[in-house]
Structure formats: C-alpha cells, structure tokens
Amino acid sequence: MASSLWQKFMHFIRHVIFKKKHLRLGLYGSTNVGKTTLANRLGLDLTGEGIGTVSPIPHETRIVQSKEHVELKTGGYMLSMNLLDMPGIAVKIDYRDFMEYGLSKAEAQERAKEATRGIIEAVKWLEKVDAALVVVDSTEDPYNQVNVTLLGNLEARSIPLIIVANKIDLPGANTRRVREAFPDYPVIEISAMTGENMEKLYDEIAIRLV
C-alpha cells in the first residue's frame, strides 16, 4: 500500500512539475516544402523511425500519416505527441503536372484524385489538431494563398502554431523574407534534411505549443 501511494505521488509530481502533456501536432504547408522530411526527422530523433516517403513529385503524401506517442523531453518539459503529417495543400491539382514526371495519364489522374482527397482530409483535420507546424520553403516566396489561408484558419480556431522556415541548407534560402511576411508569428529556421537547428525547434514546440 505504501508503494502504491508513493507511485501516485510520483505520478502527480511528474504530471504537475514536469508538465507532461499530450497533443496532436499537425504539419501543414504547400506541396514539396518538406513536411514529410520534417516528420521523418522528428520521428527519427524522437522514436528512431520515420513516417513517410519523400519524392520530388508533388503530392507524394496523399493521406494523413500519423505517428503516435512521440515523446519530446526538453528542459523541464515532457511532451507526448501524435505527429500528423498532412498532405500538401493546393488549390489546383492538375494531373498533367504529374505526367511531366513520367507518370502515365491514368496514373496521373489517379494521383490527382488521391491528392485532392488528401487535401480535403487535411482541411478537415484543422478541426482536430491541438497545435500546428506550418512549414514553408525558405527558398521561395512564403506569401502565397495557401500559407495565408492556413494561418488564417489556424488563428481562427485559436490553434497555437509555429512557422518553420525549412530548407535553410539550400542556396537561395531567405528566412528574413519569411519573418517579414509573417511578423506576428514565431518563425524557426531549420533544415529538416540535415537536422540543422532542430534543437531550437524542439524548445519552441515545448514553450509555445503546450
């Protein structure tokens, strides 16, 4: 009996002091910005295994991919997450774009259909996520319809978010442009491919999204 009381006491201490929380963290963004690469990086760093496949062909991720019970321990915080890698958001899906990568017409049309279905699913998940990482490609202009719409939707739902300026390892990366485009949001610059600056992202997640 004494040991069970002690266990309960330690559980209370861990829960209150170390503030272990659980949340659904969604990775949102346009296509080919590095969401799945980031999800794989998070998975590898925190659990030892990745989530999904990466491809230069847009809309490689066409269904919401989930990795559950991903634990992040940083500073005084312990965070348990369900990591949700969302399909890339786009407003126009043209199967002919896929054919340029060598897909047949039938394959391209099927891919377009799946991609559209994935976008619908990602939009519906906006109602369910507890926090979000909005991934942008820092080599491109971040001020586009998709990013603006995503931020608007997340803010309207009071969902805490961090803008992740990815691909800082590439020439032409301009993170200042990202900060200037979205001055009201926290921006963390990383390279999901190389792992550069990931520690700062983890700290920011623990501070802002809990």
């Binding site: 126009k92 899906i93 199967y95 377009a112 559209t116 619908i120 939009v123 519906k124």
Partner: protein
C-alpha cells in the same frame, strides 16, 4: 399571373403590382392556370441552350407553351462523366450521345463555382441573362445527384454541371472540370467568404 385591367399587360413579377402598371392603372386581375415562371429579379435559373443534332442549328427561342411537358434531353458522355441523372433521350427519338447539351456561358473561363441549384425548380432568369435562352421545360427528368467522387461539383461539358448538393455544405468546395483538373476552394480563402461567414 396577373393582368392589367386597363392595358391588358401581363405582369409576371409580383413586386410590380405594388408599384402599379406602367399605364397608370393599379387594378389587376389574377389569371388562374397560366403559371408561367415569375421573372423576379435576383432569382437564378438553370438554363440549357440546346444545339440541334443536325446542322448545329441553335434553338434560341423560348419553347411554345403547348410544347410537351417532358422534353427529353440528351447528354453527351465524356470519359469523366459518370452515369449522372441527366441522361435521357430527345423527344424526337434522336440518338443521345452525339447531341451534347451546351448551357449558356454566364461567365467565361473557369467553371462556374456557384452552384446552379436543383434544376427541377424553375426560377426566373436574372436580368443579366439573355432572354432568348431556351427554358428547361417543366417536368424535365433531372435531379440532384451524388457525383460519386470527391468533388462537389463536376463539369460534365462546357456549361453543364453535376452537383452533389448533399455534400456541398460539408468540407471545402471541390470542383472537377471537364479536363479532370481539380480546383479546391479552401475555407477562408476569400475575404468576402469570411465576411459572409461572420454574418
């Protein structure tokens, strides 16, 4: 329908009765049985402009009131068009497949994302539409259908749409045009939409 007692002009718009006839009379008689559609301003209608099968003759005159109540309409199938509920055959027995129905282009360019509504309901033309369009006759065998796909609106041919009315209110608006290209309207993607939603 009402008729001015002084000049005999037929009044289709109920709102006109409140203002009186142009001749100055404010006395109207109700004519029972002549239930031509109201020309109320601001209403919307699904109008289909027929092209005759032979010679590409375009029928632009409004149908005769004595015309058959159930003219049957042919709809060409393309590789993307599902069975749909629009299919029927012409009253004269002509083959359906080679006689596509082309609706009037209200706006050029991308497919009209505004739902055309259930075209079983005959509502008046808006003033912006040309008045020589052919009316979809009463009792046409068309109805709201489930597109069966992920899209809410499917463009079957130029100006002809299939609507999944039940799914329109759920999730983002997804339109598939006749070339198989998908357009997704994200929530809050347009400023006016935000204002509408706030109201």
């Amino acid at each position: 329908m009402h008729k001015c007692l002084k000049c005999g002009r037929k009044i289709l718009d109920i709102a006109e009765i409140a203002d009186g006839c142009g001749c100055g009379s404010k006395v109207f008689v109700f004519i029972k049985g002549e239930d031509a559609p109201s020309m109320a301003h601001g209403s919307h209608i699904a109008v289909i402009d027929f092209k005759a099968q032979k010679g590409g003759k375009k029928e632009t005159d409004a149908p005769n009131q004595e015309a058959p109540a159930n003219p049957e309409i042919a709809l060409a199938n393309d590789e993307f068009a599902g069975p749909g509920a629009f299919a029927a055959k012409r009253a004269d027995g002509a083959e359906a497949a080679s006689n596509p129905i082309v609706a009037s282009d209200i706006s050029s360019g991308k497919p009209d994302a505004t739902p055309a509504g259930n075209i079983l309901q005959e509502e008046a033309l808006s003033e912006s539409l040309p008045h020589d369009e052919v009316w979809l006759a009463k009792g046409g065998s068309v109805k709201s259908i489930s597109t069966g796909g992920i899209e809410n609106i499917r463009q079957v041919a130029k100006g002809v749409f299939e609507l999944d009315v039940g799914a329109l209110g759920a999730g983002p608006l997804v339109i598939r045009d006749e070339n198989g290209i998908y357009y997704v309207r994200l929530p809050f993607s347009q400023g006016t939409q935000s204002e509408d939603q706030i109201q």
